[in-house]
Symmetry: C2
Subunit: 426 residues, 2 copies
């Protein structure tokens, strides 16, 4: 390990800014002051690029001594403005720490540095027969995903980050280095001490900087198949979801797109699905168990007036399908060029989902808002992606009132908000 | 709600001791000063029996004002002496709060008070087609199980308490009532705020008194079948386990018993299994998927020199089999009447399990200790139940040295201890 001396000794404000370990440049600061969300860019005073945990620790100590805010930065794909330096301070960009460490194939676990993204890890694992399934769509850093407790399309089968992080190395605000489950440990099950790992998962960088994550891996399933099914109404699509889960089908993905969303995806990804409420489904397992899962599912969708399944069996067609789903955010944005998207993120008990989606759609129409809906409905979780003109204060106000209603209003008692979606600060 | 006035107003030491809400009686205090472990009885100064969260809160406030230790008591089935009042204080026995509240069948969740045990909940659920699978053997209170992050025989499929607690109502030391996931909330997935639920799960009563737990439920599987398989060596049995899991079989239970343990179970439960390393297995699923799981498993056990499976298909035979497994603790105790059992609780990465169990057995034999081994090997977790004469200081010393070696010695780097198993204070 070579040390960049400027990193460890200088107070950021006094730094020369010439080395590649630290940057005061306008462009670099701008780039690190925002993520993919609608939130206004708040650039940090300085961006540092540590290359090892010791550097992170030394820098944190300096910040601590000088009362400077610390903002960890993964890949900036967040949708909540978590990287915005609202009070200035020092952004820790972790992209230079990008090594995959300690792969234990036989124990199905791996340790990664914070610059490793989801896709980079899966590329690294390519020949091992293993994969890391949590997939929020964006090619986020795995430690950023841990920091935000990311979930995504196949959480219904494999869980969110919470269920898949085994240990974390963390640098606390004062520079202390700690390991949430003990140094070098990778227990599948533990009751020794408090569950600190899960305190840090989802803490959005508030409690410390994650400098290593030990993750669970899974065997790549023997067979996978995806399907698309259209429904005459939202209620039919969501009722099917509830019944599929209640029937105990171990479905790997079940994603809902409303008519507005599927229309946007058709346009953006050159597809031609019927413009009506739609489910994207995926099944994983042995050939035999796949047949069983698919049969049960088809019985249920048909009984809810679903169309015949459109299949995607080979890897390429499947990837195309899921790329379209994962591009939904950009497809929504493309509906109104020049506008920005404001994502809501609501999770409700499954049984309430049909009513709440139907009600939300009614509210959007009544209030003349463009708000395609896409959802990881298997977990009762849906996003309404409101596309809004940031220069139109009246429209912004209508969006604000809508989110208020969605969260606190009519459906308050039923809703569980996933992330801090209250700010609409632009 | 009626209040027992003595509960809320009097300082325990000044209480009359006559009401049924509070007890200073010797026998009651003794009974609450110990659990099922080897640890010495440390009776509290007083035992209170609150009947609602408001009483728990009022009592906690009194204790807080008078600097009295608080010890929550579930059913006293713990194996770590967690209920021992090492510094005296007030034991909160929660048995009078025994209602099942808010069953949501369609959302697969239920809320229970701290006096509800695992068996009581499953009896309550009998006609719903749902069940709560976490099963540590003992008929513990569900909130006590949350407090200790209990696992058990089917954690390999359904997870431990950690994966199955959705929300907790907790009374903090100063009497504050809080809800870890928000009052009345029951999210399947949430990233809103810190994960406080999992901070309390496994905190062994240190952080507060759990007065309500919202739990995940599961549909009762269409079919279940159990089997017993004997092996010529420990290595063969454990290798089979590793391979079964690596093959992706969604096995519901896979329990290892060494020759000493199976011999003890045979005697205690009037069985006649071959006295050699043994696996108890259980499969859950549809008829079709069961066949597939069983075939793959049999191929693997046969290739590791396993015997033919002995089947238990009907509920009664299955219950008998698992009762024998769950009685292993008492079977071990019965090996040496008058002795006590000291349980160790080790969890290691799966790939290290065969070596470590083989090494542990060698150590036990060399040091003339009776230590049958039983393990939830699917998670790399095994217990060595050392049966020791509490009146023989030399033997106690040998046990102490053994646990030291098990934990800190030869295999230190590989082991993850589950609970605080270091004390041998008798
Ligand atoms: C198109 C699109 C779709 C998405 N869909 C989903 C979805 O379905 N479900 C879902 O859950 N998410 C979704 N997301 C959001 C996704 O979860 C986040 O983008 C990702 O988890 C954040 O990772 P990152 O590395 O980009 O973190 P950043 O955006 O860089 O940071 C996010 C937050 O985490 C903190 N942070 C980052 N790295 C660290 C670290 N090493 N240590 C401590 N704190 C750190 C930051 O300070 C910030 O507060 C989506 C995003 C996009 C762009
Ligand atoms: C034969 C046998 C086999 C076992 N096998 C296993 C096993 O395989 N895996 C496993 O994990 N465990 C096992 N156990 C232990 C089991 O997990 C515990 O017995 C159980 O979880 C504790 O529940 P309880 O209600 O009896 O708690 P108690 O024994 O009463 O208390 C245990 C601890 O939790 C605290 N506590 C209890 N209730 C509350 C509450 N409401 N709020 C806050 N704190 C509370 C107590 O203060 C104490 O520290 C076994 C026990 C026995 C007797």
């Amino acid at each position: 390990m070579t040390h960049c001396p400027s990193l460890c000794v200088c107070v950021p404000k006094e730094c020369c800014g010439q080395c590649d370990g630290i940057s005061l440049g306008e462009a670099v600061r701008e780039q690190h002051g925002k993520d993919e969300s609608v939130h206004r860019c708040c650039p940090p005073d300085v961006v540092v690029f540590p290359r090892c945990v010791e550097e992170v620790s030394a820098l944190a100590k300096v910040c601590h001594q000088h009362h400077l805010p610390i903002i960890p930065f993964g890949t900036g794909t967040g949708l909540e403005g978590g990287v915005c330096a609202v009070k200035g301070g020092v952004c820790f960009s972790l992209r230079n720490m990008d090594q995959v460490l300690d792969l234990h194939q036989e124990d199905f676990d791996v340790t990664v540095e914070p610059g490793v993204t989801r896709k980079a890890l899966n590329a690294y694992l390519r020949d091992t027969g293993l994969w890391f399934p949590v997939d929020p769509g964006a090619d986020a850093s795995l430690c950023g995903m841990a920091a935000t407790n990311a979930s995504g399309t196949n959480a219904v089968r494999y869980g969110t980050m919470r269920e898949n992080v085994i240990n974390l190395e963390v640098v606390l605000a004062n520079g202390t280095i700690m390991h949430t489950a003990g140094k070098g440990r990778r227990p599948r099950k533990t009751s020794a001490g408090y569950n600190l790992t899960n305190l840090f998962v989802g803490s959005e960088g508030h409690l410390g900087i994650i400098t290593k994550a030990t993750l669970r891996l899974y065997g790549i399933p023997e067979a996978m198949v995806s399907a698309v099914c259209s429904f005459p109404s939202v209620q039919d699509a969501v009722d099917s979801t509830v019944q599929i889960l209640q029937a105990g089908v171990a479905i790997a993905r079940i994603e809902f797109l409303d008519d507005v969303m599927i229309d946007a995806c058709n346009r953006f990804s050159c597809l031609s699905y019927p413009v009506s409420p739609t489910l994207f489904l995926e099944f994983h397992g042995s050939e035999q168990s796949l047949k069983e899962q698919v049969n049960t599912t088809e019985d249920i969708t048909k009984s809810n007036r679903g169309s015949d399944f459109q299949w995607a069996q080979d890897a390429e067609t499947r990837n195309q399908l899921w790329k379209a789903r994962h591009d939904a955010w950009y497809a929504a944005l493309a509906l109104r060029p020049g506008c920005k998207a404001y994502a809501t993120d609501v999770c409700v008990p499954l049984s309430r989902l049909p009513d709440i989606i139907v009600e939300t759609k009614k509210d959007l129409i009544e209030n003349r808002l463009t708000g395609p809906i896409a959802g990881h409905v298997g977990d009762g979780n849906f996003h309404c992606l409101i596309v809004v003109d940031p220069k139109d204060p009246e429209e912004l106000h209508r969006v604000h009132l809508f989110t208020e209603r969605l969260g606190r209003g009519i459906i308050y008692k039923l809703c569980i908000f996933k992330k801090n979606q209250w700010r609409l600060d632009q």
